[in-house]
């Protein structure tokens, strides 16, 4: 079947609806606005079973998402880095009340207002919780529009299974570009939630709440299940690699091209790609170590200025049994060029660029 050419921000919106999303609240921000715009006409088209709200601001949208999800909706909000910061209070509360929901972050580069350039500057915030307190969202990091479609289609199943927030980590360029996509069919939640506010008072939210041991055990047991069950990664030509690039999202596609070029000139390199960033795929590093314990170094390639994932890469390598340097190429805003990745690789093997860990 021929695929349909769709813009990332539009494809992810349609796939959300097909995955059962029936409530959206959001506030526009470049480069995520097409998602909101598309849903604003697509949801009414689907009828009164769905609700679209353009809220007065970001935190209001997040609070509406919490309310809708508490009443059993498959709720979504979407924004970009600065807008997600404004939702942080609500995200922390949603975590405390064990409310499942999905948030799309179409990341741009920078701190504060940053800029409109594509980026991966939100790794620390989104993968380490984001708001105050102790919690994690499951963070999907697709590197193609098809993968983003598949991820959001699955997102509410994961969110409801564990009663956790799910973040879809997009990027400005991934949201703005078009690629061939095959859309999955519409689906609904299988079975009923055994919790929620339905007006009868028969179920209730069924979370321990408070600050006692019961609450802490509830939270810990949740993450204890998620960590082993949500390990997802992909490896490319790592079986005999001396150096392994580690990248997610679009830089991982640039690294595939870089690996092929370097292999063509006899360099033994490969790529490790986390498909989910939290929980970080430590199991993947263990698999790599069993297959190829001779890796001489890891190179984290990221679209930010100081390197963020590199911490987890170094930890992943160390935990798996490697005792080798971890380098970082934080390329700043915008998708790195293959040429730049090759140049950095050259600086690393000649000893010009020092390791970060």
């Amino acid at each position: 079947m021929a695929k349909e050419l769709l813009k990332g921000n539009v494809a992810v919106a349609e796939a959300a609806l097909r995955g059962g999303c029936d409530f959206f609240a959001g506030y526009p921000i470049t480069p995520s606005t097409e998602t909101l715009e598309y849903l604003s006409h697509r949801m009414p088209e689907l009828g009164m079973e769905t609700r679209f709200v353009q809220s007065e601001n970001e935190i209001a949208a997040m609070n509406m998402v919490m309310g809708a999800a508490s009443a059993g909706a498959r709720a979504l909000t979407a924004s970009s880095g600065p807008g997600i910061s404004l939702k942080a209070e609500g995200m922390s509360y949603a975590a405390h009340y064990a409310i499942p929901y999905v948030v799309l972050n179409v990341q741009r580069w920078g701190t504060g207002l940053g800029s409109l350039k594509s980026g991966q500057a939100d790794y620390y915030r989104d993968c380490k919780g984001g708001g105050h307190g102790d919690y994690h969202n499951v963070v999907f990091a697709p590197n193609s529009i098809q993968e983003m479609v598949d991820d959001i289609y699955e997102a509410w199943d994961i969110a409801e299974k564990y009663r956790v927030g799910v973040t879809i980590f997009s990027e400005a360029v991934l949201g703005q570009m078009m690629e061939g996509v095959e859309m999955p069919p519409f689906k609904k939640r299988e079975g009923d939630l055994d919790w929620g506010i339905d007006g009868t008072g028969s179920k209730g939210m069924k979370y321990p709440g408070g600050d006692g041991q019961e609450y802490i055990d509830f939270e810990l047991s949740k993450y204890e299940r998620i960590i082993p069950e949500m390990q997802r990664w992909e490896q490319y030509r790592t079986e005999d690699a001396d150096y392994v690039f580690v990248a997610f999202g679009l830089p991982s596609r640039v690294c595939v091209d870089a690996v092929d070029k370097l292999r063509g000139s006899g360099e033994k390199v490969g790529l490790f790609r986390p498909k989910i960033l939290w929980p970080f795929p430590h199991k993947g590093f263990e698999e790599l170590y069993r297959m190829n314990p001779h890796v001489k170094g890891f190179i984290s390639v990221e679209m930010n200025d100081m390197g963020q994932m590199v911490d987890d890469v170094a930890l992943g390598a160390k935990r798996a049994g490697y005792c080798v340097p971890t380098y970082c190429y934080p390329c700043g805003g915008g998708v790195p060029r293959v040429k730049m990745v090759l140049a950095k690789y050259n600086e690393i093997i000649t000893g010009e660029l020092k390791e970060m860990y």
Binding site: A2, K3, L5, T30, P31, S115, L116, K117, S118, A172, V173, Q176, M177, M178, E179, G180, L250, R253, V254, V256, D257, D260, G334, V335, R337, V338, K339
Partner: protein, 180 residues
């Protein structure tokens, strides 16, 4: 892998021109990526898009960004800055109406100059300049069969609810076919 940059000022239809190429590749079952210029570039008046597609159904597109383009389509002179992201032996299609005749190109580059303003004017379709250029590129570089390209373009516009202009669009594309 084919890599094409279609560049000009906003309003010259460069994004649409590139989209037709991506659409034609995609409907043939090839993996295609269309990346529009985005953010400050677009807002400053310059616009461009990068189109990449596999030459077989199996070939996938890695980096979506401009890297080593095979073809640069320059609807104005600033677009020639993107030669930096082209192969040394690339093919450049230049809008002769907007780029000076004595522009100095790097050695190894093949240049085709086409006055698309004049050509579009001849068919009384001033808005069809991008399609005239596109027709010339498709024909000269053998990207797609001519009949297939026309059909893919018409289907794309029809899907967008703009099928009523298809006759004029086909005429513009054919004008491009015949100009090279």
């Amino acid at each position: 892998m084919k890599e094409i940059i279609f560049a000009g000022f906003g309003g010259q239809g460069v994004l649409t021109g590139g989209l037709i190429l991506a659409y034609a590749a995609s409907t043939k079952g090839l993996n295609a990526v269309w990346l529009p210029s985005y953010g400050p570039t677009m807002r400053g008046g310059k616009a461009n898009c990068t189109v990449k597609y596999g030459e077989t159904e199996e070939e996938k597109v890695g980096s979506p960004a401009m890297e080593e383009a095979d073809i640069l389509i320059a609807m104005n002179e600033p677009s020639l800055d993107y030669l930096e992201f082209c192969r040394p032996d690339c093919h450049v299609f230049v809008n002769a109406n907007a780029v000076s005749a004595d522009y100095s190109y790097p050695p190894g580059v093949t240049v085709t100059r086409l006055d698309v303003v004049e050509l579009a004017d001849q068919i009384h379709n001033v808005k069809g300049q991008n399609l005239v250029m596109l027709g010339a590129v498709i024909k000269k570089m053998g990207l797609f069969d001519e009949a297939y390209a026309e059909q893919a373009m018409c289907k794309m516009f029809a899907d967008k609810g703009k099928g009523s202009f298809n006759e004029a669009n086909v005429l513009a594309m054919r004008t491009g076919f015949n100009a090279v």
